[in-house]
């Protein structure tokens, strides 16, 4: 039974108050943003400065969405407005509340863009990221064409802008994924409600994730699975299902003959050409995305959603070709950085999960909640996979395919996060199918249909509200859970600017931990020494001895670095003041000070 028929048999909901709920929710969000005091941020991060209006506003938006989602007929325009509202609340709050852009890496990327803009080329042998310069070059073009002084002006609002850019391809994926229309909308909202992974800052990966979504949206829109008698073969017995699964590797399937396209030839050829260009852009812009894309295209081919296997081969040639030719600066001499962790899945899992559950109790809480959110999503996705009757198992394979990457790369301890993110658009559509399963496909569901009776709409609406609001609240807490040390005050930015203004050629700027708005200037000419980034255990004694040994001309101490020590390393309160005193006894003097930052300058040899 289609969802429209199922809902039309139920009582009509009360009149359209969803937009009223949504607009009130946004108004309350504005109040919470105005009232938020960044300087009072606690160890749980952003959530500690958000008052009740934020949570009330979010709840109203989600309630409005749930009301509209189950309205007959479905009013897509209203659903879209409410989804955009939730995106603005979840991803715009940090940008609106915090005075400068979050995350050091975004500032470093602005520095890379500035270097390309000023020199017209990348800096050789400086940073691995320069071996995939496509995103930085595009950033330089953007800076040049808009007349901005630098890319720094683009940093603060990059997350909500990227998340809004993801929405069109996500809607296309949802529409052509084989789930129902309502499950598609729910899946799209769940994508945002569970996306705490924080890879939407000003970065090549954020841009390439957009490319990844566009390529897969186009493939899913272009090719649909052909009916190959699956209804007869997919009965119910596990043996039959396993036998049918073997069809994924037949010669006919891998040649693309089991996918059909309703598009005319010219449109398909144009799409293939544009997708090849996008894959070239991805190959030269990011280390990981091209390989995730290869796995996703392979999943599409095996599940009758890709009709031209040449696209997969071209993606592989471009990715490996760039690695071999363009990125040779990165791998020559240390290929083990790329392939050293092949097959070491348990080590990769350890560096991605267990090694992160450390630090103070607040930090461990945040990390535990992240694990809870993702685990909950996967449990729901599993239920959705068992409840739905699809025309192809493409969503299941697309959600699982990125995990193959973990067998090859730990990606500096971030591999699992990226893998979850690459599968997220499909995992969330499966999770939506746990509540609103499509039952019209030829592949029969594993679980029997649950009949909800006359109160079905109310039960479904309550389920949607609980599920979406629960994930939204978790994401609010955990996404901004590190902001006590990953978000920066204007004082800290002033300290960094002071250091750049007063450092002389040949001198080094020093910092205790990599939590400063630094890296946006003087790329390749002024080194930044970060004591906590050095090999070996990080204790207060090693930080002090590293700084004393390296003796940077200027050392920036700040609130964010102090918070990092207290929250992540479990140092006692006031540890940075003790360190500052020790450095001053060691020949440093205070050069300038702000409410949240101090710059020390070396005056003499101790």
């Amino acid at each position: 039974m289609t969802s429209a028929r199922r809902f039309s048999a139920l009582p009509e909901p009360p009149g359209g108050s969803s937009l009223w709920l949504g607009s009130t929710g946004l108004l309350l969000w504005c109040v919470s943003v105005v009232q938020a005091d960044f300087s009072r941020m606690g160890s749980f991060g952003l959530v500690t400065v958000l008052g009740w209006p934020y949570f009330a506003g979010l709840a109203l938006l989600v309630a409005g969405f749930a009301m509209e989602l189950l309205h007959v007929p479905l009013r897509s325009g209203r659903v879209l407005v409410l989804v955009v509202g939730v995106i603005v609340v979840l991803f715009g709050t940090a940008s609106a509340v915090e005075p400068t852009a979050r995350l050091t890496d975004s500032w470093v990327h602005a520095g890379f863009v500035q270097y390309v803009f000023e020199h017209g080329r990348v800096l050789e042998n400086y940073d691995a990221r320069f071996s995939w310069p496509g995103g930085f070059s595009l950033g330089a073009v953007l800076v040049g064409s808009t007349g901005l002084p630098s890319a720094v002006d683009l940093l603060r609002w990059a997350p909500p802008v990227f998340e809004l850019l993801y929405l069109p391809p996500l809607l296309v994926i949802a529409r052509f994924s084989g789930v129902g229309v309502r499950a598609g909308w729910l899946g799209v909202l769940l994508f945002y409600a569970t996306n705490w992974i924080d890879q939407d800052y000003f970065s090549p990966q954020a841009l390439n994730y957009l490319f990844y979504l566009v390529v897969l949206a186009t493939v899913l829109a272009c090719w649909q699975p052909s009916r190959i008698g699956v209804a007869a073969r997919f009965g119910g017995a596990v043996r039959d299902r396993l036998a049918a699964a073997r069809g994924a590797l037949t010669r006919r399937r891998l040649a693309g003959h089991d996918a059909v396209s309703a598009w005319n030839n010219g449109r398909v050829l144009a799409a293939l050409g544009l997708l090849s260009l996008l894959m070239l852009a991805t190959a030269i812009s990011h280390q990981l995305t091209p390989y995730a894309l290869i796995l996703a295209l392979a999943a599409c081919l095996m599940t009758r959603r890709l009709g031209r296997p040449e696209l997969l081969l071209i993606a592989m040639l471009l990715a490996v070709g760039w690695l071999s030719l363009g990125a040779s600066n990165y791998w020559i001499g240390h290929l083990s950085d790329i392939f050293g962790s092949v097959g070491h899945v348990s080590n990769t899992f350890g560096s991605n999960v267990t090694h992160r559950v450390t630090g103070s109790s607040s930090h461990r809480w945040v990390v535990d909640l992240r694990i809870l959110s993702t685990t909950g999503l996967f449990v729901l996705a599993g239920i959705g996979a068992l409840r739905r009757s699809p025309d192809s198992r493409s969503l299941e394979l697309l959600a699982a395919a990125p995990f193959t990457l973990l067998g090859f790369q730990s990606y500096g301890g971030e591999g699992l996060l990226r893998v979850v993110l690459f599968g997220l658009p499909f995992t969330t559509l499966l999770a939506a199918s746990a509540v609103l399963p499509n039952r019209v496909g030829p592949i029969r569901s594993v679980l029997p249909e649950v009949r909800l009776g006359r109160q079905g709409r109310t039960v479904l609406r309550a389920s949607v509200i609980v599920m979406v609001l629960g994930f939204c609240l978790l994401t609010t807490v955990v996404r901004g859970g590190n902001d006590a040390f990953e978000a920066y005050s204007t004082g800290e930015l002033s300290a960094v600017n002071f250091a750049y203004d007063h450092v002389r050629p040949g001198e080094i700027i020093g910092a205790v931990a990599p939590y400063l708005p630094i890296g946006q200037d003087d790329v390749g000419t002024i080194p930044v020494y970060v004591a906590a980034d050095q090999a070996g255990p990080v204790t207060r004694q090693t930080l002090q001895s590293d700084l004393q040994r390296t003796r940077p001309s200027l050392i920036i101490l700040s609130q964010s670095q102090e918070a990092w020590g207290e929250i992540v390393e479990d140092y006692p309160k006031g540890w940075e003041r003790t360190l500052a005193g020790q450095l001053q006894r060691d020949g440093y003097r205070v050069a300038a000070t702000w409410p949240n930052a101090t710059v020390l300058r070396a005056t003499s040899t101790p």
Binding site: L269, E310, S324, G333
Partner: protein, 68 residues
């Protein structure tokens, strides 16, 4: 033969890479348009694709092995 110098090896790799992509594009174009191709021509095209992709793979592996 592939030299130890990456610059010396690059033009060969690039040429094989471009040839592979061109051949794959031709195959995709023939497949989408449904152009009639006799069996022998199809075999030649597929054979060339396999050859060029294999050569590209060997060059990449040799480069990794010699320069890593």
């Amino acid at each position: 033969m592939v030299a130890a110098d990456p610059i010396a090896a690059a033009p060969l790799t690039l040429a094989v890479l471009i040839a592979s992509i061109v051949l794959l594009s031709v195959r995709a174009w023939l497949g989408v348009t449904g152009a009639t191709v006799n069996r022998r021509s199809a075999l030649v095209l597929n054979g060339l694709i396999v050859l060029f992709v294999a050569v590209f793979g060997v060059i990449v592996i040799v480069r990794f092995a010699t320069l890593a």
